[in-house]
């Protein structure tokens, strides 16, 4: 989570720039506020299990981010955390299942699907590739985010632009790719490459 917070902090301006082209120029600052709160909550009351870390982080995002990103990312992490349960060790396979459930919850909440130019365009391929390796998941998420450039947005604020939303990379898919990359980096730092 700290790796994620660092990544979000580093990329906040970039995310806001992307958002100003087809949205309302606040995605970076909102995500930064959310993950700053996540970091503080984890430091003040560190949970015992990876599942509990994700649930706590998700709740913090819902309480601090606002916009669509708060409920969507909050739901992603909360659902995944609940799926992980009480285990103190988490295998890549188990994490894949948990994230798959989280991504499904996001799709249901937002009423979106892959191809709508949203965070799902990065998350869905990433979860699929996570079955192979963390590195593959990172690559799939990045490709997924890039693939949103020519798409016409059908959900979220960019959808109000209709055809004019094409030609811009989706900020939500971009921040999702950041999160997956941070996860992969944390897994690599963890040594085995098999624990998040």
């Amino acid at each position: 989570m700290n790796t994620t917070a660092d990544a979000v902090s580093r990329e906040a301006v970039h995310l806001t720039e992307l958002d100003s082209e087809i949205g309302d120029a606040d995605h970076g600052i909102n995500m930064q506020r959310g993950f700053t709160a996540v970091r503080a909550a984890l430091e003040s009351d560190p949970p015992d299990t990876p599942g509990a870390v994700l649930v706590l982080a998700g709740r913090q995002l819902i309480s601090t981010v606002g916009g669509a990103s708060g409920p969507l990312y909050g739901t992603l992490l909360r659902r995944a955390g609940k799926m992980l349960g009480d285990g103190t060790e988490v295998s890549r396979e188990r994490l894949t299942e948990a994230l798959r459930a989280g991504v499904a919850a996001v799709a249901q909440l937002g009423g979106a699907k892959a191809g709508d130019k949203t965070m799902l365009d990065a998350l869905e391929p990433a979860v699929k590739a996570l079955g192979t390796s963390f590195a593959a998941a990172r690559e799939a998420a990045e490709q997924g985010a890039t693939a949103t450039v020519p798409m016409v947005a059908r959900k979220g604020r960019a959808s109000y632009l209709g055809e004019r939303s094409a030609g811009h990379q989706d900020p939500g898919a971009t921040s999702s790719a950041l999160l997956i990359a941070a996860l992969a980096r944390a897994a690599a730092d963890g040594g085995s490459g098999e624990t998040p």
Partner: protein, 330 residues
């Protein structure tokens, strides 16, 4: 870009402190970003709570008071408030008669208010919701997020607020709110792009000789760009865009709204043109409100909202209201 601020991070809190200083008839919780009328909860009265991103002032906190909203939740600039704020506001204003959430159709507002409704109901507060989606600039289809909620939010808050003040039960207040939304349409035009405090430069590039048609209230670009037009031409375009979708068979309520940086002199001149077009199209105007009511920070431009009225709705519109930004009748 020069702004009358300290730092971008405290813009919302600073504004709320100033609102509190000017309006002792409001209870302003700066830390938790909740504004309620000071006499809340009012025994037996249905409460109305609305909210959305900051930057649209006076919407929504400026419309808190007798005859309109019971409470408002200002989010960060152009960002939906979070569920915690809405639950806190609902708890502060609920007298037991229930709370109506007035929600503008933006993905973030909808998701956060949905979560808040669940949490508030867990606390035993009866919640109803109305979704405002009046903006004809957005194609409403299965393949978009649907029409945005813009100027008609004011109509819904005023008219449903008057019904609640009269003692109507939650179900009735909710159905009036839905009725007002169903009878309302809006269309907006930007002459300049908006500059948010966090970004510090215009959110999109709009050259001097051009205007943007079909904009929303969050600095997002519109659907079309043209060479700059006269007030008369803009009135023709916007009114026709609205009337293409709504054919009123009764006198209308008209809001000629400024987006924040267009002076009243220009807005009144534009209002004259809007009245001219409506007259030419055979649409009588029952009431007109002109001013900066649903704004987009420092954006220059305007929007036109109309609502097809009936006698009861007109009576509720005329009912007394006493809020920082809208007051008449007492």
């Amino acid at each position: 870009m020069k702004m009358l601020i300290n730092v971008p991070e405290t813009v919302v809190a600073d504004g709320l402190r100033g609102l509190a200083a000017a309006h002792p008839e409001l209870r302003v919780d700066v830390e938790n970003r909740v504004v309620v009328r000071a006499d809340a909860p009012v025994a037996g009265k249905v409460a109305l709570v609305s909210g959305g991103g900051s930057g649209h002032e006076p919407l929504h906190a400026g419309f808190v008071g007798p005859g309109m909203l019971s409470g408002a939740c200002p989010g960060e600039v152009f960002t939906s408030p979070v569920p915690d704020q809405m639950v806190r506001a609902a708890a502060a204003v609920d007298s037991g008669a229930g709370v109506l959430f007035v929600v503008k159709n933006y993905t973030g507002d909808v998701l956060n208010f949905d979560m808040a409704a669940e949490l508030a109901e867990d606390e035993g507060i009866q919640i109803a919701k109305v979704l405002v989606n009046d903006d004809v600039a957005v194609t409403d289809s299965l393949y978009t997020a649907g029409r945005r909620g813009t100027g008609a939010t004011l109509f819904v808050e005023k008219i449903a607020g008057a019904a609640a003040e009269e003692g109507a039960p939650l179900e009735r207040v909710e159905s009036i709110a839905r009725e007002v939304n169903a009878r309302s349409r809006s269309f907006g035009v930007a002459l300049t792009a908006v500059t948010t405090p966090a970004k510090g430069s215009p959110t999109f590039d709009l050259p001097a000789g051009e205007l943007e048609l079909g904009i929303g209230i969050h600095g997002e670009p519109g659907r079309e760009r043209r060479a700059m037009m006269t007030s008369r031409e803009i009135a023709d375009f916007t009114v026709d865009a609205v009337l293409e979708d709504l054919k009123p068979s009764s006198p209308v309520l008209l809001l000629v709204n400024g987006m924040g940086a267009t002076p009243l002199l220009e807005l009144y001149g534009f209002n004259a043109e809007v009245h001219r077009v409506l007259g030419e199209r055979g649409v009588p105007v029952a009431r007109t409100l002109v001013g900066n009511h649903v704004t987009s920070l420092d954006m220059a431009g305007c929007s036109v909202s109309i609502c097809a009225m009936d006698e009861d709705l007109l009576r509720l519109w005329d009912a007394p209201v006493r809020t920082p930004a809208l007051r008449w009748g007492r």
